[in-house]
């Protein structure tokens, strides 16, 4: 039971990170209908920028951890968001009204560019970071000496996710920008006729998605204590799987899918085999889609004849 509770905590934390990345996929899909293959690498770039800015801040003599974290968060969000904006501008906008596959391949190309850009600019080796947020609580001491641990970093990850989700939900449902985004999702031509600046709205979608991915990258850095140039690919595929599992285009679905993938992975590793955890996650995706062809919360596609 204790072991189960511990895995539940671990799974939720991992799922939160996946969920944050998945939101970026699902938002972009909802608004421009393309799979942004470069999004996983945006997450990786976010992790790198968090790592570099942390290193620089510490070497500049800053000691107050909360202040450092706040600055790192802001810097990585801003710079990563600019990456998202630039990529949309360069690689996707010229292909907006083109064929479905062209922007997708452009995105795959962009993903190669980002992966190898960070490999070339920062080297291929894994970058370790010492634990920054330490300590935690023991929730329950089991009779066999197994204790359920809840570390501070886990609390931070989950709290940050909840806060961001709240802000994000407010943004989409209550602000002018959110309304424009939903309008563009429905019908871009109509939205532009009604005075919505479609280009700007799409840019903002990429900016917000990238900023959320940056937070996920920073959380990953804090939680696992390392970044490497290839981490975007695996995390990206998982998060994309999460977005599809939840029903691509659905924001709550992305978070739900993220949590589901995180939990599946953790429990599979804990009870079956670590080696096959990804196989389990992907297999469950296939099985779910066979029975629910549009994911858990996706709108069923109505076929107009």
């Amino acid at each position: 039971m204790d072991y189960f509770a511990q895995q539940l905590i671990n799974g939720l934390v991992l799922g939160s990170i996946y969920g944050l990345i998945a939101i970026g996929y699902t938002m972009v899909y909802g608004i421009v209908g393309m799979i942004n293959f470069a999004h996983g690498d945006i997450f990786m770039i976010g992790g790198f920028i968090a790592m570099i800015s942390f290193l620089v801040l510490v070497s500049l003599g800053l000691t107050a951890i909360p202040l450092i974290l706040l600055i790192v968060l802001l810097v990585s969000m801003v710079i990563t968001a600019l990456y998202g904006w630039t990529i949309e501008r360069i690689a996707y906008r010229p292909l907006r009204h083109s064929f479905r596959l062209a922007p997708m391949l452009s995105a795959i190309g962009m993903s190669f560019v980002l992966t190898n850009f960070s490999q070339v600019s920062q080297g291929a080796r894994v970058k370790p970071v010492p634990p920054i947020i330490t300590g935690g609580y023991t929730l329950h001491e089991g009779p066999e000496g197994f204790a359920v641990q809840l570390s501070n970093i886990q609390i931070v990850v989950v709290l940050a996710t909840i806060v961001l989700l709240a802000v994000f939900t407010w943004l989409v449902s209550r602000t002018r920008l959110g309304r424009d985004m939903r309008a563009c999702e429905q019908d871009q031509t109509m939205a532009s006729l009604l005075g919505v600046d479609v280009d700007r709205t799409i840019s903002m979608t990429f900016v917000i998605g990238a900023a959320l991915a940056a937070v996920a990258g920073m959380m990953y850095l804090l939680y696992y204590g390392l970044v490497d140039f290839f981490m975007g690919f695996v995390a990206g595929i998982k998060a994309f799987t999460a977005a599809v599992l939840g029903g691509i285009g659905s924001l709550p679905g992305a978070m739900l899918g993220g949590l589901a993938i995180g939990l599946i992975e953790t429990f599979w590793s804990a009870y079956f085999s670590v080696e096959y955890k990804d196989v389990a996650a992907f297999s469950i995706l296939i099985v779910v889609l066979i029975f629910m062809p549009t994911g858990l919360l996706g709108r069923p596609e109505v076929e107009k004849v």
Partner: protein, 441 residues
């Protein structure tokens, strides 16, 4: 800002040096922020395990300067060339020359391909590269059946390549079966896996199908890595037998081909043999595909890409039609995989990553969906171009990614933007790609 037009009309686009300068400055500023930490600061794991860093402001400045200059040049070029969607009138002679070249390109390429081992007999590097290009041509033609003809998006094509390669490798090393026995088996096994995956998932639409095929590709790769007792895991399978000329080995043994013919043995014999083998396999793929297009099954594939609902209304079984496309593509992938295994003599999971799937897909899309000649040209361009950067090892994938983005922007519909009809009464005229759909599946 005008509310009606989503993007400003070209006529209203300002020109003039102030505008160009402003644009370049903005680009440079964006580049400065983007590269500030990633280029300006270099991090590395230090000797004690902690991180150290040093600054590279010189590189940063150079890069930002390049972006500034590049932006000016691009803007000038753009103004000189005019709006992208403007029709550029091609002079008559040029047009005639192009159409002439278009008609003779395919036969000329074919003749050239047959002559490659004669012309470059002593240049091992070129022969190896040609074999590589032809392998990708074959993979491209195989995937073209699925993506180009049937309009089904398959992001895990490499899985079938892997199934083919491992089928041959394991059958040959464990049971001593020869290449010529294993080749059809590899194709059949790959097609079988195609059907197994396709059956439950082919009713999924569009991007759902894409992610499922991607997941399938990853599952196959992960199983290969982890099922160590069967596949050797990350270490791969080595000592895969080389192909024989119908039982005659191509080595310097007494019953080898060279000895039997009474000529001096040269390792080039095997390379030339491999070259003609893959050329024959690729041409077979091409021939079958061209034949299939003119048969009801191939027309149904294309019809499926155009309009699935209409297909159902014409009494076409959409599920089996999709499955046959999937299985046919998978089979060609399996053949190519078996060839890859026998050529390398060693295979490991590293050869079957998502990057391979993406590369083959890029070849198909860049070729112009459905065009056999286009796919061949795209494979030549991509693989050949990729080789040009062999010297700049670590920049290779970077350049490759940039090239992919630029090529897509330059030709979103691919190199060959026409579809040839499969049957005609009077005139065999190509159909503009603007009319051709690309499918939803």
């Amino acid at each position: 800002m005008s509310a009606i037009s989503a993007r400003p009309s070209h006529a209203a686009q300002p020109s003039g040096s102030a505008f160009i300068l402003k644009k370049a400055l903005i680009s440079a500023a964006v580049a400065l922020v983007l590269f500030s930490l990633m280029i300006g600061v270099r991090t590395e794991a230090g000797p004690q395990g902690g991180l150290i860093y040093w600054t590279r402001f010189g590189d940063l400045a150079a890069l930002v300067g390049t972006v500034f200059g590049g932006s000016i040049i691009i803007e000038l070029l753009r103004q000189w060339w005019g709006p992208v969607d403007k029709e550029h009138i091609v002079p008559k002679p040029v047009q005639a020359a192009m159409s002439f070249a278009g008609r003779w390109l395919a036969p000329a390429l074919l003749v050239f391909a047959f002559l490659v081992p004669v012309i470059f007999y002593n240049q091992r590097y070129i022969l190896d590269l040609s074999i590589l290009v032809l392998t990708y041509v074959m993979l491209g033609w195989g995937l073209n059946v699925v993506v180009g003809l049937a309009g089904l998006l398959d992001l895990g094509y490499v899985a079938f390549y892997a199934v083919g390669a491992y089928s041959y490798a394991l059958l040959a090393t464990n049971f001593g079966l020869s290449f010529w026995v294993c080749l059809p088996l590899a194709g059949i096994l790959a097609a079988f896996w195609g059907v197994l995956l396709g059956f439950p998932v082919l009713r999924l639409r569009g991007d759902y199908l894409a992610i499922v095929t991607l997941a399938f590709g990853e599952i196959i790769r992960l199983v290969i890595i982890n099922w160590q007792s069967l596949t050797g895991g990350p270490n791969g399978v080595s000592g895969i037998p080389r192909p024989t000329l119908f039982g005659i080995p191509l080595d310097n043994s007494d019953d080898g081909l060279a000895a039997r013919l009474g000529i001096d043995f040269s390792p080039t014999h095997r390379i030339v043999f491999l070259f003609y083998l893959i050329l024959a396999m690729a041409l077979l793929t091409n021939w079958v595909t061209i034949r299939l297009r003119r048969l009801p099954i191939g027309r149904a594939w294309e019809a499926l890409r155009e309009d699935e609902v209409a297909c159902r209304a014409l009494g076409i079984n959409v599920t089996t039609t999709k499955l046959t496309a999937f299985a046919t593509g998978a089979m060609f992938g399996g053949f190519a995989g078996a060839f890859f295994a026998t050529r390398q003599g060693f295979i490991s999971p590293e050869s079957f990553t998502f990057q391979e799937s993406a590369l083959v897909l890029a070849i198909v899309v860049l070729g112009g969906m459905g065009s056999q000649l286009g796919v061949a040209l795209a494979a030549l361009t991509m693989i050949g171009g990729f080789e040009l950067f062999r010297g700049f090892d670590q920049y290779r994938m970077l350049v490759f990614g940039i090239a992919m983005v630029l090529l897509m922007i330059w030709r979103p519909r691919g190199l060959i933007g026409h579809r040839a009809p499969t049957v005609f009464l009077e005139r065999n005229q190509a159909i503009s790609s603007d009319l051709v759909k690309e499918g939803h599946g």
